[in-house]
Amino acid sequence: MHPKRKQRLTLVAFLFAGVAVAVGLALFALNENINLFYPPDQIARGEAPVDQRIRAGGMVLEGSVQRDPGSLAVRFTLSDMAGHDVPVVYEGILPDLFGEGQGIVATGRLRANGTFEASEVLAKHDENYMPPELAELAGRKAPEGQRAGMATLDAGG
């Protein structure tokens, strides 16, 4: 074969193999690792899948946070402040700005009894910041503000 063509062929073969492997890996991995977001009303209506890793977001209902005296277990109620509540259990250290009346996003699994088992809780880390998911939920645009951050805590890695 003409060396020039051979050179091109190597290039094309390399590219093709690389792209094929990457697309395969990426699609497989994406399929496995997408976490769908559900607001409290959808979870309360039973629209969220059970025993699948999902994200749930809302406000921590005032007066709902209960700590276990002997361990790090905590339970609280996630609410959309429109009458839809989801009970949440979590074991571990909560982020600094976690508090009653605060907006949070939790990652975890919904159990058949309707309880959400969180493995990770994100709280907004600045009074002016609103995660995009919650902004829409609250039915308002996130307010303008300064640099902000989210603190996350991951239970048990």
């Binding site: 050179q7 690792n33 997408i34 769908l36 829409e136 300064q146 640099r147």
Partner: protein, 661 residues
Amino acid sequence: MIPELGHFALILALMLAVLLAVVPMAGVVRRDLTLQHSAGALSAGLFVFLLLSYACLTQAFLQDDFSVAYVANNSNALLPWYYKVSAVWGAHEGSFLLWTLIMGGWTLAVALRSEALPTAMLARVLSVMGALTVGFILFLLMTSNPFERVLPVAAAEGADLNPQLQDFGLIVHPPMLYTGYVGFSVAFAFAIAALLSGRLDAAWARWSRPWTNLAWAFLSVGIALGSWWAYYELGWGGWWFWDAVENASFMPWLVGTALIHSLAVTEKRGVFKSWTVLLAIAAFSLSLLGAFIVRSGVLTSVHAFAVDPERGMFILVFLLLVVGSALALYALRAPVMRAEARYEGLSREVMLLANNIVLVVSTAAVLLGTLYPLVYESLTGGGKISVGPPYFNAVFVPLMVLLLLIMAPAPLARWKRTGAAQLMRSLSKVALASVALGLVLPLAVTGALELWPVLSVMLGAWITLALLVDALERVRNKQGLPAKLRGLKTLGAGYGGMVLAHLGVAVTALGIALTTTYSTERDVRLAPGDSVTLGPRTYLFEGVAPLEGPNYVADQGTVRVFQNGQPIAVLHPEKRRYLARQMVMTEADIDPGFFRDLYVALGEPLGEGAWALRVHDKPFVRWVWFGGVLMMFGGLMAAFDRRYRRLKLRDQAALAGALAS
């Protein structure tokens, strides 16, 4: 008065940027040397006014001028002076002013250090950089003016800098990162200038190589610093989260890494020319995309600036304009580029091509994962998802293993063609030794064989030993150790830089694999006097005591660490409440070490003196960043290789000869 001066200086800088974008380029078109020569002076003027503007904002911070909205929102009279100075880049407006100032700095540096460049080429490069600066300053003035006043003065005290940012990390991380980000604009400008001139020969690659290495060095250390900062500041011991903003800085790095390798091939061998140009365009475009992701707030992130659709829109339009016109130009001119040389199956060209493909594919995978939530939302009409770290790990890690595999033979391979037998001879012993080390070391130290430690030690040894073999082969003909060492020196700074940077990659990879596998952590409830055992060490909690800082109050815990009954460290993690924002912050305390970090963070008080504590044992975690530091030194060393100066003079002589004849 001073903020107005800063605002005015910024407007003047805009005028100069417009002139820089137009005048030298017009000079090129009209073959007017005087106009072309104006580029240097305009670059200097642009930088001076940007600097003045920046200094004015800094002064407003130092003077606690709370009539300036940006100062009032991000500073406080109680803030120590060094945080006031760095608070300038603590939020969106000021950080973008810093970005623009750094852009001006790169422009001036190119103007000063390129006396050997043909005048027309330099004029084109500086004009392109001027045009980009116009966009940046317009963005500042139209959507993000840091000098805006609130009159009458509403705030007497200032809202304070976000406590998370009151840290050494803020002082060093953003300037380094931005210097890297913006530095890719130089490679971009050279690529565009080369496309415009139609002269896409090896000289173009040679001119832009040191600049690209420099930008890459800054970006490497910027990312490493960011990771280190997140590790100790966020209080939960993670050092990489595949967060949208992290990815935004990582993608230009990946493509930039591909670019510095591809530039090497283009310079030395005159091939991959159009590919290199494309990479140069891509690296800077990804920097801009990063700015868009960070500043538009479209994605949930650890560091999102507050959402402002107008800003996001401006950057998006600017990004599309830059990428669109660059690609259009590329489409027009790329067919002109012709390869000058041939190469065969086992040449260094092919190895570097493989490197490029792996890096670009990795970038695409990261890009897909980062933007997928947006794609999904628009496809499903509002469905919200997030793509978790497992996706990125599943795709990225195998690709990096592949990359590390190629990293050993590539420096040994020769240009054009390499004898397979020769390569085998050099590497078979290396391969054997690496496999042996990979099996023996983890087993000897931990008594167990686990996949990632074994694989990473093998790959680390594979890269390191291959570099060693290569260096030894290069001085094979020298007799005696002193002569060999002198021989190594003559290999040049470029070669040394490559060795350092590759070692850095190996060290980082080892650090990542080892710390991920061997790290342990526990969240526990501890009353004073309670202790928890993690690995070989026991952590004794002695309770907390109140502490008063300059602008916060804190509960400071005391944790004594024992190993084999011997005290080895005392840690003081804090829970701070910053007064101005009434914001609570976890301040972890770390006992750092080359082989392990001990990391303790306070959770929340659980009543009766008991606290939630998070205790981490993190072996080898520092290697992750130490590798980044090695990469930085490697990049710097390569950038300042004398060879470029020598070759520049040769180019100059050749050009003079061409003009004379």
